[in-house]
């Protein structure tokens, strides 16, 4: 499209103009580059240096890559890693699909009570973690409402130990994250859908496309940049999962819901602090996220 403009102007101007625009483009991003370098990359380099040291509190000694070797013989770390990956594989896809469904349903101009539904589904994201941890533990207790409800429906015969059984505790955590973050992700889709040209749907309807076809052949491709964004952000969020686990199960029973971030926290603050080893564990998350994000970018086929 820029060609049509080029032909109308003279030959030398475009190159100069493009250079100028390129220069202005740098100005647009300059502040961010400075800020992120100062507040993130500089501390990240420091953290990397820290990951080569070990010792308690302020008594740190350089140990080279010993911390990285130690990781592979650390059963707590292995448990935390497996749990985290498990949460990621199950929870992120479920949540993304749910959020997409909600946003498409709520984007229907003829639907009534949209404002109420939107607000209600978004509310968990703003509900204070402290409150929702207390109530989740209450709801999912042995004699809690969830068990009562399931027993009354004859779906189960004896109460499920949602919080004290290693398997069900993981399920509870997954339910809790999904509950809290689905509405949050819905916001991104809803806002993106407003920028979608509605005439495309009308054209599709005239061509006889069903709602499902419209969803898969119009909505999903159009929302692709945002779906990519949310899945990467959710991946990062889940790999750094801390709040829910800390507040609902504290990693228990017996480390069975422990996550990497929770382990970092424990190494830094709960146990006698070993900031060097904690930094090492953080770098493992970094490496994992980089790999996963790279895959997601490739799968999504982020076109040039």
């Amino acid at each position: 499209m820029s060609q049509s403009i080029n032909t109308t102007s003279n030959q030398k101007k475009p190159i100069l103009q493009r250079l100028k625009r390129n220069y202005i483009g740098w100005l647009f991003i300059l502040l961010s580059i400075i800020g992120i370098s100062l507040f993130y990359f500089y501390p990240m380099i420091q953290a990397f240096l820290l990951s080569l040291q070990s010792g308690m509190g302020a008594n740190l000694d350089y140990v080279g890559f010993d911390n990285y070797v130690r990781l592979f013989n650390d059963p707590t770390f292995i448990t935390a890693l497996t749990n985290t990956v498990l949460y990621l594989l199950i929870q992120v896809p479920v949540m993304i699909v749910l959020a997409l469904i909600f946003s498409v349903l709520l984007n229907d101009p003829t639907l009534k009570f949209k404002g109420f539904f939107r607000t209600a589904i978004f509310l968990p994201a703003v509900t204070s973690l402290v409150a929702y941890a207390v109530i989740f533990k209450y709801l999912f207790g042995n004699n809690g409402l969830v068990n009562d409800f399931l027993i009354n429906l004859n779906l189960i015969s004896s109460p499920i130990a949602w919080l004290s059984d290693p398997f069900w505790a993981k399920v509870t955590i997954i339910i809790a994250i999904t509950w809290r973050w689905t509405g949050y992700n819905m916001i991104f889709y809803l806002s993106a859908l407003q920028n979608v040209d509605r005439s495309m749907y009308e054209a599709a309807r005239i061509d006889g496309a069903s709602a499902f076809q419209q969803f898969f052949f119009i909505t999903i491709p159009l929302l692709k940049p945002i779906i990519l964004f949310t899945s990467i952000v959710s991946t990062i969020g889940t790999l750094q999962l801390f709040d829910e686990v800390m507040n609902i199960t504290s990693g228990g029973p017996g480390n069975s819901t422990m996550t990497i971030s929770m382990y970092i926290y424990n190494l830094s603050f709960e146990y006698t602090p070993d900031f060097g080893y904690a930094a090492t564990v953080s770098y493992v998350i970094l490496i994992l996220v980089v790999i996963l994000s790279f895959i997601q970018f490739k799968v999504a086929g982020d076109k040039e």
Binding site: F28, I29, G35, I135, G183, A192, Y283, V290
Partner: protein
Amino acid sequence: MKKIKRVFTYIFLSIASLVSIFPFLWMLISMTNKSVDVTAGRLLPGGHLIENINKLIEQTQIGIALWNSFIIAIITTILTLLIGSLAGYGFEIYRSKGKDMIFSILILSMMIPFAAIMIPLYRLFGRISADAPFIGLDTLAAAFLPTIITAFFIFFFRQNTKMFARELVEAGRIDGLSEWGIFFRIYMPTMKTTYAAASIIAFMNSWNNYLWPLVVLQSPEKQTIPLLISNLGAGYTPDYGVIMTAIVVATLPTALVFFLMQRYFVAGMMGSVKG
């Protein structure tokens, strides 16, 4: 057939809303009960609302904490949106190989857990304190500075800019607008819903931010809301009625921001953007 589908939609959304809203309702009910009833999971409203509110006001500096959180959240939201959208726009509209590479590097900063960089960051602010005390440790500025420039919002605005009609940029250039003019006069008004979504998220992030304000703010008159709630729950005999009251007070502002911003999500309100 269409009607049945409609009914199913309503049932589905109603159940989802109920599940979502239940803990919130429970909080509202609990703020009217005394501690013993809250821990027993009482689901009926009680008569202790005034008492809980009075205790909250007497025992804590809730007013100051709300004010601090509010100031930090407003400044953070405005600066985050401005800086993030400038960069997101810059990376997408003035795309070049060099910028793409910088972009990938900046994205890296999202991927490390905050706990890992917190201590070096604290040390950095400790050093800043000596030369520039107004943004050093124990200032509100220190609490929001590291949060206003984030790869998250740059990424978010860039992805949304991909859906922005580039013809509008060319049209602006033909109209003789400067590059900055195009951003402020065309891009910003067009991307209202994106800004609305981002402001909700930015406000919420700032409002709930815990770890960094905790370590960087020291004097009680700079306390923010999450720190106050953390203190309330820390005693040997926590008063859950008061805690619930504080939590409701703390939740309302973000819920309100969402409520005000969500009108931008009404389909078709803006008309066709691309038209």
